[in-house]
Amino acid sequence: MNFSQNFFEIFQIDVAFDLDGPDLSARYQALQRRVHPDRYAGQGDQAERLATQWATQVNEAYATLSEPLARASYLLDLQGVVLAQNPTLDPAFLFEQIELRESLDEIRQSGSLTRAEAFIQALAEKQNAEAQAFNDYFKASALSEATICVYRMQFLSKLSQGAKALEEELLGY
């Protein structure tokens, strides 16, 4: 392992969107057993610094591969796709986003926790469907379609964050 290895290489798994979660966790733990700074306590500053760098890198790799949107974006990045800051998307999709945003505002005004939870659940299903679509396109090397999926996932993820923040607010956290 070195710092030029990609995150899949670090875990020695195939470069793919589909991955085995428990297997990734086990590999993550196996790597941390070797590189965590606790293993190098008292062995000098250099050893501890290096260990911290490795452990940081392994954490970063794990965080990226564990989360579907981060993993999808990373896969595109490895393929040399540069994601646009303000992508142009299908008007129908954008219209739906506006509607979803309006529903969220309504839920905020209603203060209903049940509705907020149902909304988050519905969003999660949309996110799963989009991730599945990404997987299919990416496997078929249809990169431009896969890229659009990532943009859509970005929208949904942002919305989901807003909904979860609202849920926390309603829960009184």
Partner: protein, 633 residues
């Protein structure tokens, strides 16, 4: 789960080579020190056979007393007798609302964001007060283990923010301790419970101490303790129950609560007694004959429970949030462990049991479990158990972010991210020709700057003048394995980079820590020079030990004969220096040898990483997958 009994492996080090390591639970109410001795982890006792050290420090004009001896001064000299200093660490006056702080302490103006206390021995920082407690424990450790401690693990509430962690580190530095790691209390408790039992699965640690509350969710698997989420309240604990009992007494006595400081302290002592008795009986008689309060009556369990119900509900809410963060439901939890003296309160137990739907584990004394876990971790970190597979993977308890336009906080690292971690964020200038930028680092979950804790502010200067939006300012956050943050910023667009690194330090600058260190040595009437020599020797010897072990193991494979010789010469030079008593020479040779061994350290690291996912270790760790693969053939 079985009680802890660790047997040393066959290849255990020669007892004479064993390092003296200890775990310290620096508590709000009581503190403890524990160590692994002859394969057994145990709490260390003082000369009179007592293990709990009350976290109370009394200052007189000329003397400092700590613990049980300081307790009697609580009533007679309340402002010279500092209790619960842990709740003041890394805290300013504004943070302390609601703990009736004014009645318990005589505050001097805050300095650098942290409170200061007026005492007969002068103005004291809570860091200095904590250092006095640590010194007593350190001396106890040295006396029991037969020499100065090589390293300690100090526990902190998982929910401690950066300011509180840094303050704890500073206290340890002033006490002259070599801190191997700051360990989160719930993680320590999990180690104490889980190490020997070989349990797997999801474990919740519910830790309600004297002044802090933590709840953590961990996944245990083959010696790995992975924290999935943590939450709590670093200002909620048994002290608050005491306050409520006191309030109840005042209400029943129809007192307005305008007590003098001494009566107030005595009332608090009585309140604690009542609370403790209510853990085993349903009514407690109270007789108060204080200078400003006389009352006789009784307190019912039901009255007490009605008062504390709101706080108990707070703790359950925090538990619910932790599970939510980890996307886990209460039924998926395999074990619930209670830690901290305040979990003896029956209402707390029943609320926890009701929420998780299972009886919590309490086999290990909840007052000691944290110190025991810390001692086990210290024993591993100091190098006494090189083959141990135990590993703790912890998380950042509170999100870290930066102030952006409009007084809002942009999160850079969210809570519950595994540490160590590094994240970078890019910003740009908003005015043409702007050459400086203010970087304001905050910790907390809220959107508004005013609702988060301000950790540090610094200016990045020397940005080349450009049009607005052209500069690329990269701010990098790094959190190390202790959960401590450092921040750096640089300008990338032109390649001209101006960078600054801040180590947020609250109330105490590095110079102040050094000054206090010196002052504290003077206090202890120790010769500072002797102390420095001792520390230099410890550092030098530690390097020789670590390097020799590494060379024995990996030297033949990774070092050329020339390199081996260079390192051996370095070791000899350092050994020669260690035989003398010149601090500077020892430090210089230590430094030389450390630099000479840098490459070797890097090579060993690479080798470790290669081993991690190949050959034997993969079979071991991914055993089940491996079996499946074999069967497929």
């Amino acid at each position: 789960m079985a009680l802890i009994q660790i047997t040393e492996p066959g290849q255990a080090l020669d007892p004479h080579q064993r390092k003296r390591a200890a775990g310290i639970d620096l508590g709000t109410t009581n503190s403890l020190i524990a160590s692994v001795r002859s394969g057994q982890v145990q709490v260390l006792k003082d000369l009179s056979g007592v293990s709990m050290l009350p976290s109370v420090v009394h200052y007189s004009g000329s003397d400092v007393t700590v613990g049980t001896e300081a307790l009697p001064f609580s009533a007679s000299e309340p402002f010279n007798t500092i209790a619960s200093a842990k709740r003041l660490l890394g805290r300013g006056r504004a943070d302390l609302d609601g703990i009736a702080a004014e009645q318990r302490y005589d505050f001097a103006p805050d300095d650098g964001g942290m409170v200061r206390l007026k005492t007969a021995a002068g103005v004291m920082s809570p860091v200095q007060v904590s250092a006095e407690i640590l010194k007593v424990l350190s001396d106890r450790g040295a006396a029991t283990l037969g020499g100065p401690l090589d390293g300690v693990v100090i526990t902190v509430p998982a929910y401690f923010d950066d300011a509180q962690r840094q303050a704890t580190r500073d206290a340890a530095a002033i006490a002259g301790l070599n801190v191997l790691r700051l360990l989160n209390e719930p993680t320590a408790a999990a180690v104490a419970y889980g190490l020997d039992s070989g349990d797997e699965g999801l474990v919740v640690i519910f830790d309600l101490g004297g002044g802090t509350f933590d709840v953590s969710l961990l996944r245990l698997s083959r010696g790995v303790f992975e924290v999935l989420a943590t939450g709590g309240n670093s200002g909620l604990g048994g002290d608050d129950f005491d306050e409520l009992v006191a309030k109840l007494v005042l209400e029943k006595a129809h007192s307005k609560g305008d007590l003098d400081a001494s009566s107030r302290r005595q009332l608090m002592t009585e309140a604690r007694r009542v609370k403790e008795l209510l853990s085993s009986q349903s009514e407690v008689d109270v007789t108060l004959a204080l200078s400003s309060l006389q009352w006789q009556g009784s307190i019912q369990l039901a009255e007490f429970e009605a008062k504390i119900a709101g706080l108990v509900e707070e703790t359950i809410k925090a538990a619910r949030r932790v599970l939510r963060d980890a996307e886990v439901t209460p039924t998926e939890i395999n074990q619930v462990v209670l830690v901290g003296g305040s979990t003896r309160v029956p209402l707390v137990r029943s609320a926890v049991e009701a929420f998780f739907g299972r009886a919590p584990l309490t086999e290990i004394d909840p007052d000691r479990v944290v110190a025991l876990g810390a001692a086990l971790q210290a024993d591993v970190l100091v190098g006494n158990k090189p083959d141990d597979e135990m590993l703790l993977l912890d998380v950042l308890p509170l999100s870290l972010g930066l102030e952006t336009m409009g007084g809002l906080v942009e999160k850079v690292i969210s809570r519950n991210t595994p540490i160590p971690v590094q994240r970078a964020q890019e910003f740009t200038t908003y005015k043409d020709g702007q050459t400086a930028m203010l970087i304001h680092v905050l910790q907390g979950e809220r959107e508004q700057v005013a609702d988060c804790r301000s950790l540090a502010q610094f200016e990045l200067r020397g940005i080349p003048p450009m049009v607005a939006g052209a500069a690329k300012i990269q701010v990098v956050f790094q959190v190390d394995a202790d959960g401590l943050l450092s921040v750096s910023a640089s300008e990338l667009a032109t390649g001209v980079s101006a960078a600054i690194t801040v180590k947020p330090s609250y109330g105490l600058s590095d110079t102040e820590v050094t000054d206090m260190l010196k002052a504290s040595f003077a206090y202890a009437k120790e010769d500072a020079a002797a102390r420095m020599l001792l520390e230099a020797r410890v550092d030098g010897q530690r390097l020789i030990d670590a390097l020799s072990a590494a060379m024995q193991q990996d030297g033949p494979a990774l070092l050329s004969p020339d390199e081996t010789q260079t390192l051996q010469l370095g070791i000899q030079a350092l050994e020669a220096a260690l035989a003398g008593d010149q601090v500077q020479l020892i430090s210089a040779e230590t430094q030389n040898l450390s630099q000479a061994s840098d490459d070797f350290a890097a090579k060993r690291m690479d080798q470790e990483v290669r081993k991690a996912l190949t050959g034997q270790s993969l079979d071991g760790v991914l055993g089940q997958n491996q079996v499946t693969a074999d069967e497929a053939h």
